[in-house]
Symmetry: C2
Subunit: 206 residues, 2 copies
DNA sequence: CCTTGTGAAAACTTTCACAGCT
DNA sequence: AGCTGTGAAAGTTTTCACAAGG
């Protein structure tokens, strides 16, 4: 393993990537930490240190090649191959995720969608068939799945989590408010909307 | 203003609230920081310091009254009245938010849903009518809106953000990857799904 | 005895100041 | 106004160690 990326930097990387893709589409080739810092509202040195950690290819007097920076960030996201993702729970959020076309550009393939509602199984959402959750393990044996996105009701979230871990999934995006137990066999990121609303509300009064 | 809540603590409060509601429903009345720390996988002293900041009503040898803790957290979320929320963008995510019944329990009222798609305006999702974005300002003049949730396409997000700020909204939950400029007139929390996937992917390789 | 609360140490993150080079 | 990289300082968060109270 190379140098470990601090958590604080990881949180800012999507911001950098989004910004770099935006200015790349404007045909800009080179950018300096100062410009990025101004545009993103961050500290100049913080950006410099972050970019040095991410890429280490800054050139004095010049700045950073945007193409290079983007490639270096992508190397952090998927070391060699694209990442395979499945979604468990074909409700509104699951459907929105499958329909969203933006993941592909960033190297994420949504390979499967699972639900336990018999009336949904067999139907297709944008070319992705809804499979029974019972087939999850079999599916993951055939396809190496890197990330599972849980959008089922909270009450079955841990059960789904267990199945994902059994299927060797390495990362879980958890849309429920259920605290998931993985015995450190997978990394979980919680994206419960209510939690964000609560944090926002507290910040407003703070 | 009382004591300012550190950002790190704010991030954990939803976790505590969710946990406390769960054990309250099991008719447990009192809990210690040690138990909470074990169940949530946090440090014992960290929980003690957090609860002391949140409530300051811990009793040596006893622990914390769960009802009291929940009330103290709720006081941080909504000082006196429930918080009024509107959703801008009646796509899949906007619809899922309006249909979700869990916000109400936590003191958030979704009062309105807005979109600029003429074919959607006038339709109802779960008793909430879809209004034109042009009516946003008028609506906010009649109802004090605390939080706006942006689920429109990225390209129009800043425009919507400007309208929200003009309407005196204090907090924005931004589902797009567009970096929003608020001139510090509102607090923004970004919940772009792609960003979470990217952070998760990097953590997996870290 | 248990559990809270807290000053101090340790760890982590951001900012400052400046050397040096595409 | 040139920009990066970095040691050191400052600020924040977590952990340690222990006093005190029901």
């Amino acid at each position: 393993m190379e140098k470990k990326m601090p958590k604080s930097v990881i949180e800012r990387i999507p911001l950098y990537l989004n910004y770099l893709e935006k200015i790349k589409s404007q045909n800009i080739k080179v950018v300096s930490s100062k410009i990025i810092a101004e545009d993103l509202g961050l500290g100049e040195v913080q950006v410099r240190k972050d970019l040095n950690l991410i890429s280490g290819n800054g050139k004095p007097k010049i700045g950073h090649q945007i193409d290079e920076l983007i490639k270096d960030i992508e190397k952090l996201i998927f070391k060699e191959k694209k990442l395979n993702v499945i979604v468990i729970g074909a409700g509104k959020i699951g459907e929105a995720l499958v329909r969203y076309k933006g993941f592909d550009q960033h190297g994420f393939n949504i390979l499967g969608l699972f639900d336990n509602d018999i009336t949904k199984i067999g139907k297709k959402i944008d070319d992705i068939e809804i499979n029974s959750i019972d087939e999850l393990k079999t599916f993951c044996d055939k396809n190496i799945i890197d990330i599972g996105i849980i959008t089922v009701p909270s009450s079955t979230a841990q059960e789904v989590c267990d199945k994902l871990i059994e299927s060797k999934v390495k990362g879980i995006l958890n849309f429920t408010n259920q605290k998931l137990n993985t015995n450190n066999l997978a990394i979980v990121r919680n994206v419960d909307i209510t939690s964000f609303l609560i944090m926002l509300a507290i910040e407003i009064n703070n």
